[in-house]
Amino acid sequence: MMRNLLLLVALATVATCRPRTLVILENVLTKETHSSFLADLGEKDTDITYKYATDSSLTIKKYGERVYDSIIVLAPSVAAFGNALTPTDFLDFVDAGGNLVMTASNKVGEPIREIAAEVGVEIDEAGTSVIDHMNYDITDEGDHDLIVAGDFTKTKVIVGESPAPVLFKGVGMAADPENPLVIDILKASQTAYSHSPDQDILEYPLAIGSSLLLVAGMQARNNARVVVFGSHDMISDAFYNAKTQTVMGGAQEAGNREFASAVTDWALKRNGDLRFGTVKHNKVGEAPSDVAYRITDDAEYSITIEEMQNGKWVPFQAKDVQMEFVRIDPFVRAFLVPDAAGVFKVAFKVPDVYGVFQFKVNYDRTGYTHLYSTTQVSVRPFRHTEYERFIPSAYPYYASAFSMMGGLIVFSFIFLYHQDKPKTE
């Protein structure tokens, strides 16, 4: 009894507490060099735990459950994690629904590379950099690897309203063409390529131009989010406070801080996370019930959708959410209309086809949680008492049937009781 009570209390605490984030630092210096990033992180309503990458007490799983909601790995060149954590442990963490943010650099270590490869992002070999002879920053030291990048993804929910170009110095990445889940958060410009600055180019680089990713994201099918920054430096204090100026354009404040903050918000599911609440469906004018629909009934469907915006659940507003009424193929497909409280509604007529149908909302937009709700209902045919009793077009048949019956009675009467008079006379 006591134990149960304790368990309940424990569960209650877990349920109400804020999301837990683990920040894995490469070494003592990282806290200094990335203090602004960490400070921004501190304002994101999350309980942060700091650990060093080689810390032997590093744990991300206890009793088969993950103990953090998100992990931020600021340790690009780590060769092996402490406590014998392998890349598989991190991948299991993602498969269990945890979010993961990692940074890479041109001295990227094997664990980071492996994790990235498993989420569909291939990091170029150690020692290579993204080089751009056209869009390098003027403070570049001659290798043209300190570049200005501005080709952000169009998805506002990830990168914010109007991100300013950012400074980048790091390793290039390529998306796995087989993996449909990778999101190109920041792409290199047309003139960029990935190679070691000191060597002659003898082989084709891993990727060039806009197929070269600088920041890559991935939203898994269980909606866990992963972000890989190609540059460890781009979220450092130094880059946060720098200005960008290419040989072509004028100087402007680097957008690194805002960009990194927006992307982290997305990765920690503080933005673009959708959830649905009550799903209601009923016949028009009736209370919801478990009873099957009848063909050609008028039905209503509503679903409450909420969106996480900057860490707050607010009613979701969108015009492109559709509901499908599916039996193998969709028989009805209609736009749902939201009200101010985020209740999406539609009224429609059940098709004249019986079977097992599903109300299906399948809202899959880049950057947003994949919203998938199905509710199975049966659509039954008419009962024997529900057909029309008299069909107007059949009146001639009714008339003929009844006149026939009448005729038969009259005929029987005459046949039985009529006597021929002439014969008797």
């Binding site: 498969d95 498993e118 989420v119 991935m218 193998i328 019986y354 079977g355 097992v356 149908f357």
Partner: protein
């Protein structure tokens, strides 16, 4: 001693007629009890459960009827079957069986005899076979004599051809339909003999009961008009027949149209047109006879010829136009396969795939009927010897049913009763003739006092009679032994629980089906969808209570074809089909381990054929699944398509590691007697979830898409 016993019971003092009645009643009741008890092997050996595949569905619907009443049953839309199409139960079944069972159940419970519905269902078929015994007695009595009736009744009680469909636990339509059919025949013969409206109406009611219980009523509604037509041609048509047929047809048809599944078929489809035509012909015939009686011969002839020519032309035209406009349903496939045994095989794989629809072999005639095969012509001979209206009816019945039984194994059931009736007549008449001769020997003097038929006297008359009577007795005894043996060995092993004999002679029970269905019931989500070949559909819904994709009611060929395609395609293609059908689990029956031969690999050819028979299944070609020498094989000669099909992989997954028989390599299939060709492979889109004790049932779970997008 016997005498004293008889005296003590007061029987000796009874009059001759009463004694006869007593003997008749005793024989009849013993036959009834025998017919009930001989069908109980399966219940005694196993337990009181529904044993077969199909009856599980009937059982489920009966439960619905008992629990929720008739209207709920009538309007029942079953959303568990045929996911996601669903099935209207009330409109797609013959409700006679369920209504009968429910009625029996309610009657018993009204009198506070608490018997549960499952037991009613299990014992319904044996009970009705007892009723059949009585009806056969009555029918034969009408046709021939009381003696023939008693012999026929005793035979129908134990004839294997009928037992095969009416053992305890086989709760199927046929169980009561044979009773209904014979009852209709009996009332029809009564009606045609007496010409009474009462008997004709009874016949119509019996016909209604028959229609409500089995699709085989079509045979009946063609046989009776055929009888009428034959009587007309042979000049035996009379007012009695006219009254009997007109009432029976009109009332019977209106009643039969009240069954939702039958609907308007009696006035629209070609199977029923013969009955309608004969009905019309009756009116014309009666009218013509009336005219003939009131007109001069020459006038009549002129009128007759003109009218007949015009009528024939008009009828032909109407028929053509109606068929063209689709008013008369095109000849349905099942009917074609009756007329032309190769029709279904060539055109409709789904019909041909049912083993019951295969042509009957000679061996199975003997197996199911034994002595009757030889005594049948004897009875037929005696029927021809003294033709009456009733005799003509049984002759027609026997000739048509022997033809149909030759076309389809399943219709052996229709043949069995008439075989009994004919043999009953044959044996009874033979014995009656020769028994007299034996008796005539002992009191030699009194027999010559009649002296009418000197010609029939011949030497060693009595000896011949003795030999014949002995031989017939021996035959009858062997018949009893044969019937009991067949019932015990062949027809009382349920397909839900399998039994086999081990090499030390012990009975081994394979209870894999129930093991697997229970696993499904307790380990999968309640709305999980299970895909399997349609044979197991009814059982899955009834025993595992899970939604299934296709079942034994094979009404939607496209849907079944889709499942066939999923089974026959390579994994990645199957996956898209399974996702389309929302499949969560896949169930296969595999006999390679236990030697159970009616497993999915042996049915696989049908899946390929049915799968390839629709446009979506164009990629499936039967020839791709044969080895290079054109054989159906599973060893290393088997084709690539075979090795890569989902069915092959699911059946033989990890089978290559298993040693099934001593002295044979691993992965030796005991049904096909081959070593499988593809031993070492992994499954990509499904994962093994459950395999039953003897590997008969294997259940796989359909995997989700990979979480991180990479395979």
């Amino acid at each position: 001693m016997a005498k004293t016993l008889l005296e003590r019971m007061g029987i000796a003092t009874l009059s001759q007629a009463k004694k006869e009645t007593l003997v008749q009643m005793t024989i009849l009741s013993v036959a009834c009890i025998l017919s009930f008890s001989v069908r109980l092997f399966s219940v005694l050996r196993f337990e009181s459960v529904i044993h077969e595949f199909d009856p599980y569905f009937n059982y489920r619907t009966t439960k619905q009827l008992v629990e929720n009443g008739y209207y709920e049953f009538h309007n029942w839309f079953d959303d568990r079957a045929w996911y996601p199409l669903g099935r209207i139960i009330g409109g797609t079944i013959y409700p006679g069986l369920m209504v009968t069972a429910a009625a029996v159940y309610n009657v018993f419970n009204f009198f506070n005899v608490t018997i549960n519905i499952r037991n009613v269902c299990v014992f319904l078929a044996p009970m009705f076979s007892s009723f059949t015994v009585i009806v056969v007695y009555l029918l034969t009595k009408e046709v021939k004599s009381v003696g023939a009736g008693l012999v026929a009744a005793s035979m129908i009680a134990i004839v294997p051809g009928y037992i095969s469909r009416s053992v305890a636990g086989s709760y199927d339509n046929e169980g009561i339909a044979i009773f209904c059919m014979l009852l209709t025949y009996y009332t029809w013969i009564k009606a045609s003999k007496t010409g009474s409206i009462c008997w004709s109406l009874s016949c119509a009611l019996a016909y209604f009961y028959m229609v409500s219980s089995w699709g085989g009523y079509v045979f009946l509604i063609n046989l009776i008009p055929l009888h009428v037509l034959t009587l007309m041609i042979t000049g035996r048509f009379s007012h009695r027949i006219y009254v009997a047929y007109c009432i029976m047809y009109s009332v019977g048809t209106i009643l039969s149209m009240q069954i939702p599944f039958v609907g308007f078929a009696p006035v629209e489809t070609s199977e029923h047109m013969a009955a309608l035509g004969v009905f019309g012909l009756c009116q014309i015939y009666a009218f013509v006879t009336y005219l003939q009686a009131n007109m001069s011969t020459t006038n009549f002839n002129v009128l007759f010829r003109t009218v007949v020519t015009i009528a024939l032309a008009a009828a032909g035209l109407t028929f053509g136009v109606a068929t063209f406009l689709g008013k008369i349903a095109p000849w349905t496939g099942r009917f074609y396969s009756l007329l032309d045994p190769s029709y279904a095989k060539n055109n409709i794989p789904i019909i041909a795939s049912v083993s019951e629809h295969q042509p009957t072999t000679w061996a199975s005639f003997y197996f199911d009927l034994q002595l009757l095969v030889f005594m049948f012509p004897v009875g037929l001979y005696y029927c021809f010897r003294e033709l009456t209206d009733a005799n003509i009816f049984v002759i027609l019945y026997s000739i048509t049913s022997i033809y149909f039984a030759g076309v389809m194994v399943r219709l052996m059931l229709v043949l069995a009763p008439i075989m009994c009736i004919m043999s009953g007549i044959g044996i009874s008449t033979t014995l009656a003739i020769y028994m007299k001769n034996i008796e005539s020997e002992t009191p030699a003097a009194p027999s010559s006092k009649s002296g009418k038929k000197k010609a029939s006297d011949y030497p060693i008359k009595s000896e011949i009679a003795t030999v014949i009577v002995t031989v017939v007795s021996i035959f009858l005894t062997t018949f009893v032994f044969h019937c009991t043996w067949v019932t015990s060995e062949a027809y009382s092993s349920p397909s839900i629980v399998l039994a086999a004999r081990g090499h030390d002679g012990n009975r081994i029970i394979f209870d894999d089906f129930r093991e697997a269905y229970n696993w499904l019931k307790f380990n999968t989500p309640e709305n999980a969808k299970v895909m399997s070949w349609w044979d197991y559909g009814y059982q899955l819904t009834a025993m595992a209570n899970r939604t299934i994709i296709v079942d034994n009611n094979t009404w939607n060929n496209t849907h079944i074809s889709r499942v066939g395609q999923a089974m026959a395609s390579p994994e990645d293609h199957s996956y898209t089909i399974m996702k389309e059908l929302d499949v969560d689990y896949v169930l296969v029956i595999f006999g390679g381990m236990s030697g159970y031969s009616s497993d999915d690999i042996n049915k696989f050819l049908w899946m390929i054929r049915i799968g390839g028979s629709t446009p979506e299944g164009e990629h499936i070609k039967e020839s791709d699944y044969y080895s290079s020498t054109g054989e159906y094989k599973v060893d290393k000669d088997a084709s690539k398509a075979m090795h890569n099909s989902l069915m092959y992989k699911m059946c033989y997954y990890r089978f290559g590691e298993i040693m099934t028989e001593q002295g044979k390599p691993t992965g030796y299939d005991r049904v096909r007697n081959q070593e499988i060709g593809n031993k070492d492979f992994e499954l990509d889109v499904v994962e093994e979830a459950f395999t039953s004790e003897h590997w008969i049932v294997r259940i796989y779970k359909v995997k989700d898409l990979s979480n991180r997008g990479t395979v």
